[in-house]
């Protein structure tokens, strides 16, 4: 590492003009990035991290303005440049990779042309030379068939390919500074890991400085050299990655690390500590230390603004009490939740929910052409022959990537999608197929919490009325009884009684999901389906919801189907983990043996791909070839055979695999490969020492 910095930001303050006053989105931030260094900026949404990186390029929207501070890019003083001069810097000196690849590419230009534009923004190269370089870059970021790729339009290629293209565009001018704004956040883990590895290789090659923005501590731990933690418009702590994870020097950093379950954590082994309270909205942070109203160790002095304390050579912290933290004199962990979640109730007895051979296919309308040429009608095969059982009072975690059919399966069970084949039994009674055929009692027995808090509650009904409805309609209470019960429900999800009179727009995302949970629990259902209930929430409020779910279940002994794309969360919460790929179940396993071979090859890839929030673990992720196939054109035999790294041969492509049961671990695996062979070839996945049982 050299001493020369590629980016040097000093005392930067950025504000937005709103209702006649300036609100700081970035307050007094300094940071330095050296050549060849990868600097991670971690923060939740609303922390100001995106504003900071846009300001670092002096690219702010109309409302935002840099109020004070300096930005140096190498020896260029960015603040002194005109817009014309800035355009000379953008692209060549600083390159930017955005968050949403889909919307960041022009839909009506061929991708080759867009790449050429980056290589040759002001037209100095000959078109032929630029095109040649564009094709080279396609190959460098491992895009298959560069010539054909260059001729494609963005909508014709997958999200992963689009992001590779944006990376190629950014690196093609050999910039001094590369800024990545959550570049893998919208991608699946198996795609994310391919992009991260690619980035790692290219960055090493280029010797550029990298500013990597993310909310994902795992990604930070795996690829960054140094980390800045951002909270409420300020950088509250900065440290080399190793030190940050081994001893955080700011209570917020500690809270962030504690609030997400790591791979290998289970609810018996570890308690999540949620950060109390909420992130202040922009311009509304408390005076003095911005974290003091959520801090477990805040004292009187914290009402004055802490300076940036220099700790040793390489660390800084904006906490007045950093010395006490270094000397371990105070405990900066958030208080643990009231009680330890326990294994809930008796799990024996007949299954609460059982599906047999359940398939859900959506027919695709045939065009006239196809009708005339007598082509068979096609359908999207979202869920295929699923056998799923949920025991009383137990939690089944269903994990799969986008497009795996996990949400369709849940909706099929609830009666929101029509099943094509198979049966669904609730408490051993077959469920009518259509929603309107189900009587009120059946409806009462099963409830669901949806993913998106924006749409979970009727924006025009007060919370009280929303909660009253299932009480009146399903539980058969009178209006007065329901009124009383609403207060109890609010208390159950830790909201005060006056929330009954509020409208959803007055609630935060976390609070809305609490209300949605309360509504689902209102009529005391036997089966509760939670469809990614926390994936839209900020990291620091996720833990509180997970704890609440745990607690409610252990009190009410409901059965639960918890759906997530995140294996760490499912592993933490579930009694049984079910892995789904392309509408078919791949593996059923207990959380305690999740890391032990044998694994289904898909589960193995999934496990290896998760970036773990522990810089000591250097994982060796398995890259899956190609893209997830179109569910309208399901591969024959094993649905995973087109991408399987352990492809056996013809049998995988022609014959449906058997369900093999491993005697030692009790795992059930949908695969042709003999289990002994899997055990012999697979290694135990390394998990954080703290999480080991």
């Amino acid at each position: 590492m050299t001493n020369s910095s590629v980016l040097d930001i000093r005392d930067l303050t950025v504000a937005y003009h709103q209702d006649g006053q300036w609100l700081n989105a970035v307050h007094d931030v300094s940071l330095k990035i050296h050549a060849g260094e990868t600097y991670g900026l971690v923060g939740e949404s609303g922390s100001g991290k995106t504003t900071l990186v846009l300001a670092a390029m002096r690219y702010l929207g109309s409302g935002g303005s840099i109020r004070s501070g300096e930005i140096h890019l190498g020896d260029i003083d960015l603040m002194s440049l005109t817009e014309e001069e800035l355009r000379q810097v953008w692209g060549r000196k600083i390159a930017f990779v955005p968050q949403n690849p889909q919307s960041s590419l022009n839909p009506s230009l061929r991708v080759g042309e867009q790449l050429v534009e980056s290589i040759n923004p002001q037209g100095e190269l000959s078109p032929r030379e630029a095109e040649k370089q564009a094709l080279e870059w396609c190959a460098k970021v491992n895009l298959p068939d560069p010539e054909r790729m260059a001729e494609s339009y963005p909508h014709q290629i997958s999200g992963g390919m689009q992001q590779r293209l944006l990376i190629a565009m950014a690196l093609s001018t050999d910039p001094d500074l590369l800024i990545l704004d959550e570049p893998t956040t919208n991608l699946d883990v198996t795609t994310q890991v391919v992009i991260l590895d690619l980035l790692n290789d290219l960055i090493r090659e280029n010797e550029a400085g990298v500013l990597y923005v993310t909310h994902n501590l795992g990604v930070i731990a795996q690829i960054c050299d140094r980390v800045g933690v951002m909270y409420a418009s300020e950088v509250v702590e900065e440290a080399p990655t190793h030190n940050l994870f081994s001893q955080p020097l700011h209570p917020y950093t500690q809270g962030l690390i504690d609030s997400i379950p790591q791979l290998g954590d289970t609810r018996e082994s570890i308690q999540l500590r949620a950060i109390s309270g909420q992130i202040p909205s922009i311009g509304k942070s408390p005076s003095g230390c911005v974290f003091r109203d959520r801090c477990p160790v805040a004292i009187e002095i914290c009402s004055t603004r802490p300076p940036l304390y220099q700790v040793g050579e390489s660390r800084t912290s904006r906490c007045h009490r950093w010395e006490e933290i270094v000397n371990s004199e105070i405990d900066i962990h958030q208080p643990s939740p009231g009680r330890k979640p326990t294994q809930s109730g008796d799990q024996d007895g007949p299954l609460t929910l059982e599906t047999n051979d359940l398939s859900i296919h959506f027919p695709i309308r045939r065009s006239l052409n196809e009708v005339f040429s007598r082509q068979p009608s096609k359908s999207v095969k979202a869920v295929n022959q699923v056998d799923l059982g949920i025991s009383p009072a137990s939690t089944v975690g269903l994990v799969g990537e986008s497009g795996s059919g996990k949400t369709t399966l849940a909706r099929g069970i609830m009666g929101l999608e029509k099943k094509s084949d198979g049966s669904i039994e609730l408490l051993q009674i077959p469920l009518p197929e259509k929603l309107f055929q189900r009587d009120l009692e059946t409806l009462r027995l099963m409830q669901i919490v949806f993913q998106n808090p924006h749409e979970a509650l009727n924006p025009y009904l007060p919370i009280g009325e929303t909660l009253q409805r299932p009480l009146i309609r399903l539980a058969g209470l009178s209006n007065e009884e329901a009124d009383i019960k609403v207060r109890e429900l609010l208390e159950l999800v830790r909201l005060s009684a006056d929330y009954a009179g509020r409208l959803p727009s007055q609630l935060s995302g976390g609070e809305i999901q609490r209300v949605a949970l309360a509504r689902a629990f209102a009529a005391n259902p036997e089966l509760l389906i939670l469809d990614e209930p926390i994936s839209s929430l900020d990291v620091s409020v996720q833990a509180a919801i997970l704890n609440l779910v745990n607690e409610l279940q252990s009190d009410h002994h409901n059965s639960m189907l918890f759906i997530s794309h995140d294996l760490s969360i499912v592993g933490y919460l579930a009694d049984q983990i079910v892995v789904i790929y392309l509408g078919s179940l791949m593996e059923i396993t207990g959380p305690e043996v999740l890391f032990q071979p044998p694994h289904h090859p898909y589960t193995e890839a999934l496990l290896s791909a998760i970036p773990q929030a522990d810089p000591n673990i250097k994982s060796s992720p398995i890259h899956l070839a190609g893209e997830i196939p179109n569910p309208a054109d399901l591969p024959s035999g094993c649905p995973f055979h087109t991408r399987c790294p352990r492809y056996l041969g013809e049998i995988c492509a022609t014959t449906t695999p058997p369900w093999q049961v491993d005697q030692k671990t009790g795992k059930r695996i949908f695969c042709h490969i003999p289990l002994e062979e899997l055990v012999a070839n697979q290694i135990q996945i390394d998990i954080s020492s703290a999480a080991k049982p």
């Binding site: 953008w90 960041s104 022009n106 009506s108 534009e117 980056s118 923004p121 565009m169």
Partner: protein, 319 residues
Amino acid sequence: MSRFILRRLGFLTLTVLLTSLLVFIVTQWLPGDVCRIILGREAGQGAIENCRLELGLDQSLPVQYLTWLGNFLTGDWGISFSTGLPIYPIVMDRLRNSLMLTLVALIISVPLAVALGVAAGLNENKPIDSTVSVGSLSVVGLPEFVTGLVLIQVFSFGLRDLGLPYLPANSSIPPQSTFLEALPMLILPALTAMLVLLAYISRLTRAGVLEELKQPYVRTADLKGLPRRNVIVKHVLRNALLPTITVIAISIGWLISGLVVIENVFNYPGLGRLMIFAIDRRDLPLLQAVIMVTVLGFALANLAADLLYGWLNPRIRLE
């Protein structure tokens, strides 16, 4: 793309058929006995019977509809009640006049409207934007007969009173006029139509430009270091102008309504005046022919716009 074209064609056929059914029901069935209308109240029962037989009114409704539709498609549009002349040549002559006027109106308004909309969108909240916005909001509200009369006052009577060369207030061109002969008389009606179109198209173009400016790919283009001009032309306008094709197609519907009024303001012998004539005389065969021709024209304009849009939009072209 071929699938897209087929679907559009199918949709067009269905819509036109349904509309023709509607026109049939409203003009043939709702008004009651057509023979009574033709022959008048005093006609004897025998004459009425004869007439009904002659017009095929003794047959069932579906048969009547199919016969009517078949006749329409083969150009047999019948005889006008009020003039006793065959309808087809009259309507075709008026159609030609209306098309001339439409063409002139579109040629002068579309480029101007799009340019104004783009200028306003790129300069949001600046004076030019406010002027275009408020201007279009007020003009869009003025009925065509008001704007038409104002234009006549200014460019015809006003200029004449000042002793300057002036435009004719009356546009009743003789039958079979060539385009060049008609042109001077087309200017005022076309200007009136322009005001209506201008407001409508420029507002929607402005909205389209503003929408595109917010797109993340514009940021990508900026941060590549492209010159601002390139960003605007290649990234913003290319995407913003695509939907204006649809806007223009919709505005043709406006234009048709507007032209009915404008033709009556200026006494211009187009379909719109013919339509009012037919209504005044209760000449139902003439009315249905005029309406069907207009419907067909509007539908074809929409189809053309759809196809152009699909062809220019890679997401549809490469479906």
